[in-house]
Assembly symmetry: C2
Homo-oligomer: 429 residues x 2
């Protein structure tokens, strides 16, 4: 017995929810034809029912109680776009208990409680769709689950935070300093008044958690991810990087190695001819490397009302199809098992280092000796004199463990001829 | 009643079939876990059962009669990787009649008979999966059908032929002439002994047919697509393009406009900062523009044994899930309706033109007048003297219909002071 009308309830109607609703209205006939059923938005829970809204909404649909949505027996699909963690989690749990499919754009929630919620959904023979939680409208979750399902994924690496990529692009292209670029991003709506979630790398880390969980079938805690933000990146470093043939990007990197998972978010030097180096401003792009497919990349706008709404609507359509065809849970079953994470000090990187030293004989020899003793070999060196007393030295090492590099750095910091360590950044090829 | 074992038959075991089989063997346990059923390769039809094969195959599975596969009542999924059109079509028709799901990598077949075959499959409550027919392992068919399902697709534009992209990249980066780059591509296995299907643009046109059909819900005939190959692209044009800020790529372009569909494949000047300009060698990339998602791009290896095998295996997994969950036909229903195609002479482009003229006063004025009479305005001009008698002139027009441009060109060809028209290429921004 197939349903002719599938009813939807929204939790929240901000930027993202409004975008989804607009798309549902705009492409209504085509969407219904494709799923072979009518969609009806039956209830929308909002904080303030009196606020004027675009797109226009029949005011009788609005309620200020989320329970009116998740407890409504007629509603088949609950779309959670309220954000935040605790209340959203509570609402989704109740929606699942009340036999509803769930669509969410909530990355903080899915990063921290996603696997728990998915397993509860499975017990209820329901499902949670969360394509919109990572990369806005760029297809990522579905390609990882379905299109690349036959691959063992070896690596994911991407630019998954638009705010920081906008800032770094403006620094590189327009020669702005970090503070100026951030202020401009705030003025243009690409960064929030309190930008710390973006610039400190946490937004990217949440998204990496979600992607890596799916890619490596891993149970991943936020503590497993090494996180470093962009606030210490100087225009001077971006210029040196360009001179050495690199762009500086905030990358989220996940890999499965023989010794465990690599999970990290940090500003990174990446070769200028790498496709990720060409990803500018608010755009996102994610590289995925599978044992069969090789490298594939997905690129697009990682945020915004309509792009994110596009992902939500695709999820609503998948949920509607699951209801229509009585598909219990996932067609392709994800699996989350505990995995060992490689401790940061054992992870291997190349490093970019900028420091100031006294302009006197033998300084470079001491530096090289300190690195040599920790078996850190040097790949590239730039030395430019800042003034008569001080020399600025830029080094790029070959592959070295974080542990060995840090030990070499501890020695270097102690040297009387080293005046300051100005920057330490990682390099990928 | 769910099946525990799902049986697969292969038609063909060449490069692509062998890649698919290797992936099935290599990631067998994970693949079976994800679909919740065992897969078993039961029969493989090949031309020569005696040939040694990698990956190794139990010789008792081999047969030289394709009927042994499509008529076997135990086989659930037929994987057609034999290539060619007539026999493959006949085999797929029989497979559908015998209640089998079909997976195919056959772009020639799907471009010419795909919509007919899909409608027969629908009547049989079966389905044909054809992700591998376009872009190798890059997810394209599934993103268009599912991930971007809520969008009205406005445009698709991409590099979907690896051979020609390899040739054009080698010309641009290494300064090789077309013939040298082609010979090298043949030596490295990127081009066939008879390269005409690739270099004349037909391979890209077949793929465009498949993608555009899906993107615009259109019934598209091969005659609807304007096709121009790369063999007339000269190194000299690539160098001028670079000077003007462009790369030259063989693009497949599809768009839905108010006056109809635009469908064309031709060498194109594209700005150097466009993400497609950075797609090098055998890589493919496809831009898709939706009314909600904006621009997204998919990038990866568009051919090869394992990448294409990756797409086939994903399709096998989807077919297996459809069998397991008794999903009839598509969860998201594609639709193919007749659409008007904008005649080429009414399509609008910018043009790049390189010609040789007598080095005498007033030549440029005559040229400009001929263009002006057809309301063709000029955006960029380079004039360099080749020798005392001859001036080489390079022009880029603003937007103009093909019809008006051709009329201007007819006049210019007649001018006594014009010695030769050396190149005409289109430009996109």
């Amino acid at each position: 017995m197939q349903k002719d009308v599938i009813k939807i309830g929204f939790l929240g109607l901000g930027t993202v929810g409004g975008g989804a609703l607009q798309i549902l209205q705009q492409n209504y006939r085509e969407i219904c034809r494709k799923i072979g059923a009518k969609l009806e938005v039956k209830r929308i829970a909002v904080r303030d029912v009196k606020k004027t809204r675009a797109p226009e909404v029949d005011p009788t649909l609005l309620t200020d109680k989320w329970e009116h949505v998740v407890l409504d027996p007629e509603i088949d699909i609950v779309v959670e776009v309220m954000g935040g963690v605790d209340l959203a989690r509570q609402a989704i749990l109740q929606a699942l208990e009340n036999d509803k499919f769930v669509v969410t754009a909530n990355k903080d929630l899915m990063a921290q409680y996603g696997q728990q919620l998915l397993s509860i959904a499975k017990k209820q023979q329901k499902n949670i769709f969360y394509e919109a939680s990572v990369g806005g409208g760029i297809p990522l979750i579905r390609p990882l689950k379905h299109c690349l399902a036959a691959n063992r994924i070896k690596k994911i690496m991407g630019i998954i935070n638009g705010t920081t990529n906008y800032i770094l692009t403006q620094m590189a292209k327009e020669g702005k300093e970090y503070g100026t670029a951030l202020a401009e991003a705030q003025a243009r709506g690409f960064a929030e008044a309190d930008p710390s979630n973006d610039v400190d790398g946490w937004d990217a880390a949440y998204k990496l958690n979600i992607l890596a969980g799916l890619a490596f079938s891993g149970m991943i805690a936020m503590d497993d991810i090494y996180v470093e933000g962009v606030s210490k990146v100087k225009l001077r470093d971006i210029r040196y990087a360009q001179e050495l043939g690199y762009a500086v990007k905030l990358l989220a990197i996940g890999a499965e190695t023989e010794t465990g998972l690599i999970l990290r978010v940090h500003p990174t030097l990446i070769p200028l001819n790498h496709p990720l180096a060409a990803v500018e401003n608010e755009f996102n792009a994610i590289f995925v490397e599978g044992d069969a497919v090789g490298e594939v990349m997905f690129y697009g706008r990682g945020a915004g009302s309509l792009p994110t709404g596009s992902a939500i609507c695709a999820d609503i359509m998948e949920a509607a199809s699951a209801i229509k065809y009585e598909i219990k849970n996932n067609v392709i079953e994800a699996n989350f098992v505990p995995k060992k994470v490689v401790p940061m000090e054992k992870q291997v990187s190349r490093f970019y280092l900028r420091l100031k030293a006294k302009n006197e004989p033998g300084v470079f020899a001491k530096l090289a000796t300190a690195f040599g003793e920790e078996r850190v070999s040097l790949d590239m060196i730039i030395q430019k004199r800042s003034d008569e007393q001080t020399a600025e030295i830029v080094l790029v090492t070959n592959d070295v463990t974080e542990g060995s590099f840090n030990q070499a750095m501890a020695k270097i910091r102690e040297m009387p001829s080293i005046q300051s360590i100005n920057s330490v950044l990682r390099v990928v090829e």
